[in-house]
């Protein structure tokens, strides 16, 4: 994997890229960065052209014109600008947490350009308004515990609260966060975006009630021990989506693509290549997870 810095949609942007073939963009969640895909980029790049961006205001990507309020539209526009910049005409999207919501919103905006969706453990996309507010409040509190004083220990503890097995947290990611969160303005930007997500004005960006509008094949990967989501809501969402596959990951928190990266990479590849996957709803919770090789 490798990094590029570029001006995209007027915003200084960092992204990871690797591979060639069918394009796949990886979209991280709120308060983290493109580095979260460090266990996926090179693996998936064997079959696909991968781009893993730092979304607006995250990682090493700037905030551009955004000064507060719901960040969704800014982030989607920036994402689309990057897709154009790297020459992704038709592409698939894999989004983690809030990144899944951004992926769905991108699909709604540029309908025919998005070929498939992978939604990873996303409360933003599936919880009720009340449930989502509570979840974001917890995420915000957790994120601030690291950003207020970004010691290595605080960064580790923050992620530890959302991993089933904290020993699976990659050291590389923590080291990156120690630098990322030390930069001036990071905490304030994080605060603005999280408050923007909790803003009543964000209601118009909700997708939980619009799942039936998704017209492309969609894979949902859900951590069965993820405190930020409710499995039942994933089932409801999958049932709303015409071509959906639901795979629960047991012994897994909020970051299946990190915590069980080999299984995630395998199921993502299978899905993108139209191979058969055991859906939880037919074969039982975590059936596909059990069927694919462990790390």
């Amino acid at each position: 994997m490798r990094v590029k810095f570029a001006e995209v949609g007027g915003i200084p942007t960092r992204y990871y890229y690797e591979g060639s073939g069918a394009p796949l963009m990886l979209v991280h969640g709120a308060g983290v960065s493109g580095d979260s895909w460090l266990r996926n980029i090179d693996e998936l790049a064997r079959d696909f052209s991968i781009v893993a961006l730092d979304t607006m205001g995250h990682g090493f990507t700037g905030t551009g014109a955004y000064t507060g309020g719901p960040p969704h539209a800014y982030m989607v526009d920036h994402l689309i600008a990057l897709a154009n910049h790297v020459g992704f005409d038709k592409f698939s999207l894999a989004g983690s947490s809030f990144g899944a919501m951004l992926s769905i919103l991108t699909h709604f905006k540029i309908k025919d350009r998005v070929e498939k969706l992978i939604l990873i453990s996303s409360g933003s996309s599936t919880l009720s308004e009340e449930e989502h507010l509570k979840s974001v409040q917890n995420a915000y509190k957790n994120g601030m515990s690291a950003m207020e004083n970004p010691t290595y220990e605080n960064c580790r503890a923050r992620l530890g609260r959302i991993f089933f097995d904290p020993s699976k947290i990659p050291e590389e990611l923590l080291w990156m966060q120690v630098t990322l969160y030390a930069r001036p303005g990071v905490k304030d930007n994080y605060e603005k975006r999280m408050k923007g997500m909790m803003d009543p004005a964000a209601k118009k960006f909700r997708v939980a009630e619009r799942m039936h509008e998704i017209t492309v094949p969609t894979l949902l990967v859900w951590g069965l021990n993820d405190p930020r989501v409710i499995y039942g809501r994933a089932v409801e969402a999958a049932n709303q989506i015409k071509q959906s596959t639901l795979v629960g990951f047991p012994e897994c928190g909020h970051e299946p693509h990190i915590e069980h990266w080999q299984r995630f990479n395998t199921v993502a590849r299978k899905f993108l290549k139209d191979e058969q996957i055991k859906d939880d709803r037919q074969f039982g919770q975590g059936a596909e997870f059990g069927a694919i090789a462990a790390e």
């Binding site: 990094v3 810095f5 970004p150 010691t151 990156m176 120690v178 001036p184």
Partner: protein
């Protein structure tokens, strides 16, 4: 342990830090940055105030005005600027590779403030010109590959060349390099620095190999026995020239004792800084 960003003489600067009390400054070598002390900052931070900066034009520290010539003067000026900003008065300084040369020169420049020196695997400080030229060319060939095409694989292989056990290369360092090598101006800064170092007429005034006898402070030298960049015999010669020198050999170790054998490295540094007996450590080359 945490990182900080600050501005020193208008130059945006990153440093890692941990601990309180007596200041210990850690200076990385060329083509790498303060992450390379990742196995040492927290441990040594238990007893000392550890400050590990990214030197001028490296890691996440900007190059400032440095555009040509010997890198030593602007690097040292920037370092002293940072230490002054942090309120560091008297301190010990440890340098790896070229960082050891910077440490010695800083000691010469601030004789009242540098109290102890730690020199780790440093050809720059100890090799005669002809041998240093060869060593720098090899280092440049190795490093340039990574700077020009910083993929994970390329950056990993580059460091594996100078580690005794390739599995010991910290992946944390590699991930940071993927980004830091792509920051605007970083490639140019590396080229400028290496060209500056290989202009032997221009850097001659900054050589330390012929001035080692001038070092009056207690000095600890730590050297890998398998270092391709500088043979161990040169470390023995250097130690012999320094009045109050202690030399500790590291077996099964190439260019980075502090990353390759961190537990032993940290223990020895702590003993040295606390003025404890080093006899145990000098008698052997491993744990």
């Amino acid at each position: 342990m945490r990182a900080h960003f600050t501005t020193v003489n208008g130059i945006r600067t990153r440093y890692h830090t941990e601990g309180s009390g007596y200041p210990l400054v850690l200076i990385h070598g060329v083509g790498i940055s303060s992450e390379s002390w990742l196995r040492n900052v927290d441990e040594l931070g238990k007893d000392f105030w550890v400050i590990a900066p990214d030197c001028l034009g490296q890691g996440f520290t900007e190059p400032g005005d440095y555009k040509s010539g010997p890198p030593q003067p602007p690097t040292i000026k920037h370092l002293i600027g940072l230490l002054d900003q942090l309120g560091v008065d008297k301190f010990a300084i440890a340098g790896s590779s070229f960082g050891a040369m910077i440490s010695i020169l800083t000691c010469f420049q601030l004789p009242k403030r540098v109290e102890k020196l730690i020199l780790v695997s440093s050809g720059s400080s100890t090799l005669p010109e002809v041998e240093l030229e060869k060593s720098l060319k090899e280092s440049y060939a190795n490093g340039a590959k990574a700077y020009h095409n910083p993929t994970f694989e390329v950056c990993l292989k580059r460091l594996q060349n100078v580690f005794y056990n390739p599995d010991d290369v910290p992946r944390e360092v590699i991930l940071m390099q993927l980004t830091s090598y792509r920051l605007p101006g970083v490639l140019d800064a590396y080229e400028t620095r290496m060209k500056g170092l290989m202009d032997f007429d221009a850097v001659r005034p900054y050589r330390t190999a012929e001035r080692l006898h001038e070092i009056k402070v207690p000095t600890l030298l730590m050297w890998g026995l398998n270092d391709p960049r500088v043979i161990f015999a040169r470390a023995q010669e250097a130690a012999a020239k320094i009045e109050r020198a202690t030399l500790v050999a590291f077996d099964k170790c190439k260019h980075f004792p502090h990353m390759e054998h961190p537990a032993r490295f940290n223990r020895i540094v702590r003993k040295f800084l606390k003025g404890e007996s080093m006899e145990d450590e000098t008698r052997r080359a491993a744990e």
